[in-house]
Symmetry: C2
Subunit: 118 residues, 2 copies
């Protein structure tokens, strides 16, 4: 594979590279955990307090708070204090769309793998 092909191929430029670095550390990393996906899913239709999310997930409070911190620091969810509780809501509903695409791809891939095994 000679260096002549470089022009045909195109080396990825640093701008795109940096953008994907940020994309991973900002969004993908936040979606890379089942509980965080469940949280986003739980907030899909309504905002919830931390206690409610703990009940829904069946996870200890500190754990849920830690996951919420990850989502909050990256701006994916919004915290709103009401009295003694803190209610969370998703800031970008499109996120759910992206997750749905991944779910659909996962479904197709599961089918394919089932076929292969025949």
């Amino acid at each position: 594979m000679s260096a002549f092909a470089y022009e045909d191929i195109g080396v990825v430029d640093d701008r795109l590279r940096r953008q994907f670095d940020e994309l991973v550390s900002g969004m993908c990393k936040a979606l890379n955990d089942p509980k965080r996906l469940l949280i986003i899913y739980a907030l899909r239709s309504a905002s919830r307090s931390v206690g409610e999310l703990c009940d829904m997930l069946g996870a200890p409070q500190s754990n849920v708070s830690q996951h919420l911190a990850v989502l909050r620091d990256r701006g994916l969810v919004e915290a709103d204090r009401r009295g003694n509780s803190v209610f969370y809501s998703i800031r970008y509903p499109e996120l759910v769309d992206a997750i749905e695409i991944l779910r659909s791809v996962m479904g197709k891939e599961a089918e394919r793998q089932a076929e292969v095994r025949l």
Copy 2:
């Protein structure tokens, strides 16, 4: 928050839980690395050999092969041996759509954070 609220809230069932477990280990984990995103992006328009991808990413061959193994094991890319080289292509173009949604959300969030700092 009393246990009475359970009926209003709804505990997430094990089915959804397992599905998100698989979603993370199957798809999200694969997308949780800048180089793997670059690989998918590079394969967006055409299939590429490992050597070409190495040139495009400017990464050592073993490293690229390892990333390709991650994508291949999860069925996100397809390997096709032609002579002495192996050409890879993406199996599900929708993946790029999902990535684009995340990119757009990242853009919005960057704007928002810039506003906050004013």
